[in-house]
């Protein structure tokens, strides 16, 4: 059980010529035993963060603490961490057994103990049959299992995963995701998991950290992030299809906010927001909260169907409206066809408001 703490971490790659640092004043605590997922678009600094925790990169400023021990200048070998690379990074000239045993041999464990631990891990990851093979004789999924096994067998204080599943096909990715969840439940080891895939983030995380351009956008549980995104970027990053964004103007009218867009008007409980008196806003509403049938408190918006995507259990309707483009998740039996005019209903309780300029949640 170990707590990892990043304090004021910045990273500026020397000679990269980039004007913007890869990471800027990052503060983050990964509580003991939790699985924290760092998520964000490519190039936002996820790997850099992980590599700084691993000791593969030195931060330009700031400190890395593991269990209150300052390890900022400590070699990776002395940090008691294990890392799973996106590219697997298996030792190609060693058998699977030797790959798993490598770290244990360095720690000079007895041969019998090494054998016991390697076999136990191999059994739990179902790679026993391949212990004598070289990595090149394994499939992608098997290699990934070996890479995970190599981390697990060490029983480290902290696990680091850098997009471990992004080289796998969709089905394997799901299997391995559950495998990682199972391992985490079993070992309760503090873990940092990097991905650009919001589904992985939602399904695996105790806590999600959303990164963009080297800065933290939001930290929270998956449901907090989904239900109360801190800004427009976070709101748009999570959820499929993405949240609808409609430009509007907000005005404070005795106790509530009147939000007016092209073709709709609704009142939002102002107590919920610390909004200024008036201004441009972006109204966000998730596709599943826009309905085709009338609800008591919902407000109508006239729209026209442009595209209908059938997903089986549901359909996704892409609509054009005076307020802007709109995506709606509807029951598969919904009759709407391209060209149809219809009225959709926006639930004021499900509306997110973002400041028009700063894009922060109001």
């Amino acid at each position: 059980m170990s707590e990892v703490r990043l304090v004021g971490i910045s990273k500026h790659y020397e000679g990269s010529g980039a004007a913007r640092p890869a990471l800027e004043r990052l503060d983050l605590t990964i509580p003991s035993g939790e699985l924290v997922v760092l998520v964000g678009p490519s190039g936002c600094g996820k790997s850099t963060t992980l590599r700084i925790v691993a000791g593969l990169e030195e931060p330009t400023t700031g400190q890395v603490l593991i269990d209150d021990r300052d390890v900022t200048r400590v070699a990776p070998a002395q940090r008691d961490i294990a890392m799973v690379f996106q590219s697997y990074a298996l030792y190609p000239h060693m058998t699977v057994f030797e790959n798993l045993a490598f770290a244990l041999r360095i720690r000079k464990l007895a041969d019998a103990e090494i054998r016991r631990r390697v076999e136990e891990v191999a059994r739990s990851l179902e790679i026993e049959a391949y212990l004598d093979r070289r990595p090149r004789a394994l499939s992608g999924g098997q290699r990934q299992r070996v890479a995970i096994g190599r981390a697990v067998v060490r029983q480290p204080a902290v696990f680091l995963f850098d997009e471990p599943l992004s080289n796998l096909d969709a089905k394997l990715r799901g299997d391995m995701r559950r495998e990682i969840a199972r391992i985490h439940q079993l070992t309760q080891t503090t873990s940092m998991y990097v991905t650009h895939d919001q589904v992985e983030a939602m399904t695996l995380a105790d806590k999600i950290v959303v990164l963009k351009d080297g800065t933290i956008q939001q930290v929270g549980s998956p449901m907090e992030i989904y239900d109360a995104p801190a800004n427009r970027f976070v709101a748009g990053f999570f959820g499929t299809p993405t949240m609808n964004f409609l430009p509007a103007r907000a005005e404070r009218v005795n106790g509530h906010l009147a939000v007016r867009g092209q073709g709709f008007e609704l009142a939002v409980d102002a107590a919920a927001t610390a909004s200024p008196a008036a201004g441009d806003v972006t109204l966000g509403i998730r596709p599943e909260r826009v309905t085709l049938d009338e609800r008591p408190t919902a407000v109508p918006l006239a729209a026209r169907v442009e595209l209908r995507e059938v997903l089986g259990a549901e359909v996704v309707l892409h609509l054009g409206s005076p307020a802007g483009e709109l995506t709606v998740r509807a029951d598969a039996r919904a009759a709407a066809r391209p060209g149809d005019a219809l009225t959709v209903w926006l639930d004021p309780g499900a509306v997110h408001l973002f400041d028009g300029r700063s894009e922060q949640r109001l």
Binding site: I81, Y91, R143
Partner: protein, 290 residues
Amino acid sequence: MSAASPAGTRRPSVLAQVATYAALLVVTMAVLYPVLLVCKKAFEPGRQFALSASPMPRDLTLDHFRDLASAEGPHGELLFLRHALNSLVAALATTVVGVVLSCTAAYALSRFRFPGRRAGLTTFLVVQMFPASMLLLPLYVLLDRMGMLNSLVGLVLVYATTAIPFCVWTLKGYFDSLPKELEEAARIDGAGPWRVFFTIMLPLARPGIAVTALFSFMTAWNEFIMASTFMTDETRYTLPVLLQSSVGQYSADWGLFAAGAIVTSLPVMALFYVLQRSLVGGLTSGSVKG
């Protein structure tokens, strides 16, 4: 890839194949003809190079090889054995020194960033551009000052310094091509720099090392100008010097020369054969993806 385009998978016509093989045959013969002539001379009686263009000897004899093996020096020592031994010691020592130093240097230049790195790499490249004959005089003076004329140690020193720049560049290129994640994984697994070098990088660089070993060996084994300049004592000759002395200005024995040339080329061929197994690609396959 080519499955989509019928043109890419079509087999060449018979005529095209015949033409290809005929061309290859001509080139092969052109390359092998001089070698065959030397072989012919080695087994043919007589000191003169016959003017016949045929690669087949008229008569067969092993006299030249016997002469080669039995030539004696002023104190009755067997010269050929001495020279072969000199060559072997010089070549092996050059190989060992060259490979050991260039492996470590190339790894450092490939993976570490330190002051002087670029300058060092450039220097290695620049010194490659000077022909050996230009360095002959300064090297002679240096070796003389150090008392290393007529010394195998001196010769190895010269050979190793000639071979190392090329070896370093070759090996550096090889180390550069090995995925960085492997080292990082090993470092996280607890390996120190030396263990990473010996247990991860060196085994994976085997093809590169084989190339540089071969190159170092051949640099020393085939070298003539320096050996003939620095080794004035007949017992210190290497095989190329012996070969040259057998076709001296006044008494050219081409039979002896040819026999010597064949014997001299055998170890290089053997080494090639042994090392070719290491000259395989794809050692890192299966290790990283994406």
